[in-house]
């Protein structure tokens, strides 16, 4: 990925509308939090607007922006009989071209925004504004959930496609299956 290909430029994006909405939701919640009280003295109104923006951002990032920009999707299932949690991931196969600009915008935003909220949380603690702190804590939880889940989906997708390419490069039939099985074991038994 050279710098020209993945430059943070609007015109290089493959899904400019998706990317625009994604950045808009993410930044709008922060800006409303920071500057909302300049325009309205109504605490409740600002609080509700920020919460709704955060919720919309969470949903949009998880269900729409993620799969369009980087071809990833995650959700969490709970087994009703044991209560065990399972993370379920979808990742695009290798035939799908992920636009480098989209991908860079996406990952940059998804990691930087939670850090910004953590920073704002520290400020809120220092200034003893605990009502606002509750809002920032919600923001940190929502953004960090998306960040962790998407990075996990990315790693999972990479690991699967690595195993998949080892599987495809060897011959067909039983040999292929055996090789795939061995590859799976070699790659994934390490941390067990």
């Amino acid at each position: 990925m050279d710098s020209q290909q993945g430059a943070l430029s609007w015109r290089l994006s493959a899904h400019p509308l998706t990317l625009g909405f994604f950045l808009a939701f993410r930044l709008a919640s922060i800006f409303t939090y920071l500057f909302g009280l300049w325009f309205s003295s109504n605490f409740i109104l600002i609080f509700i607007i920020v919460i709704l923006l955060l919720a919309a951002d969470f949903y949009y990032c998880k269900n729409i922006a993620g799969r369009r920009l980087v071809g990833l999707r995650w959700w969490n299932e709970t087994n009703p009989e044991t209560g065990e949690q399972t993370w379920v991931f979808e990742s695009a196969d290798e035939t799908r071209q992920i636009n480098a600009t989209d991908s860079r915008f996406f990952w940059l935003t998804i990691y930087v925004v939670p850090l910004l909220w953590v920073f704002l949380a520290i400020i809120a603690i220092v200034r003893f504004e605990f009502i606002w702190l509750s809002l920032v804590v919600i923001a940190v939880i929502l953004c960090a959930t998306n960040g962790v889940a998407f990075s996990r989906a990315d790693k999972f997708g990479n690991a699967s496609s690595l195993a998949g390419s080892a599987l495809n490069s060897s011959g067909g039939g039983a040999v292929r299956r055996f090789a795939g099985n061995m590859a799976t074991r070699m790659f994934f038994s390490g941390g067990r």
Binding site: P80, G83, T86, N181
Partner: protein
């Protein structure tokens, strides 16, 4: 094996046959591959990625990456409506008080036996809790005096979330197998009747009319909560113990509506 006289020899014969099964020569290798059972059907599980957060990783069975935005939205709106339906028409209507078995069966605890309750618990989302919590806090802050609006809003908002967390913790401590967010989701959706209480309070209906109406709405909430959440796999004779904090939670919120 021969020395153990009380075992039926035919049983042994059967079991040894199963172990030594011989494949016919023309069998396709892909049909009955012993390796397949451990590689293709079980999920890829890179456990070293999952050290920080619990839960195993699994690949999705279906591909929804290329669906349209409309599909995504309509599916989720439909899922929200399904949950609202379970709240609007609760299974237990308090004409006949459900016993512990009914309550346990209705919850998500027992997969296929659960029916509607299990389906509703299964795909949780936090839209209901979020919207109803905001609505409740806003409506109650309308009826508060001007100097107290912010405090009432923040107080009710945090009370709802802390209450949901406490009720969930109670169910989990009693051995219920329900995830935190599933429980919060269900409790959030069942706040709908309490929101109606808050709306009536914001409209300043007279105090005499409040008591019977609010009592009915309180029972509605409780009926919806119990019939969806059920015991969620709590041990049988502790169902009441798992459900009563739910009653206290709704009761507290309804009392807030009553006095405001």
């Amino acid at each position: 094996m021969a020395s153990s006289s009380n075992i039926n020899p035919y049983d042994n014969y059967e079991s040894s046959r199963i172990e030594d099964v011989i494949d016919p020569d023309d069998l396709n290798v892909d049909d009955d591959d012993p390796l397949e059972a451990t590689s293709a059907t079980t999920p890829l599980n890179p456990t070293h990625l999952t050290s920080a957060i619990p839960g195993e990783d699994r690949r999705a069975p279906n591909n929804t990456l290329d669906e349209s935005i409309w599909d995504t939205l309509s599916r989720d709106v439909f899922a929200v409506w399904e949950k609202m339906k379970a709240v609007l028409w609760p299974k237990f209507t308090f004409k006949k008080w459900p016993d512990a078995n009914d309550v346990l069966e209705s919850g998500g605890g027992f997969g296929n036996g659960g029916g509607r309750g299990a389906a509703v618990i299964g795909d949780w989302d936090l839209w209901g809790p979020l919207v109803f919590c905001l609505a409740l806090s806003t409506l109650l802050s309308f009826s508060a005096s001007d100097s107290q609006t912010t405090q009432v809003f923040a107080g009710v908002f945090s009370m709802v979330w802390i209450g949901e967390a406490v009720v969930t913790a109670q169910i989990k401590l009693l051995g219920g197998n329900i995830s935190f967010f599933q429980s919060v989701s269900v409790i959030g959706y069942t706040l709908f009747p309490v929101v109606i209480c808050a709306l009536l309070s914001a409209l300043h209906i007279p105090a005499i009319a409040r008591v019977p109406v609010y009592a009915a709405l309180y029972l509605w909430s409780l009926a919806a909560g119990v019939s969806i959440l059920g015991g969620s796999g709590v041990v049988r004779n502790r169902v009441g113990l798992a459900v009563f904090p739910l009653g206290i939670f709704y009761g507290g919120l309804v009392c807030l509506c009553l006095v405001s």
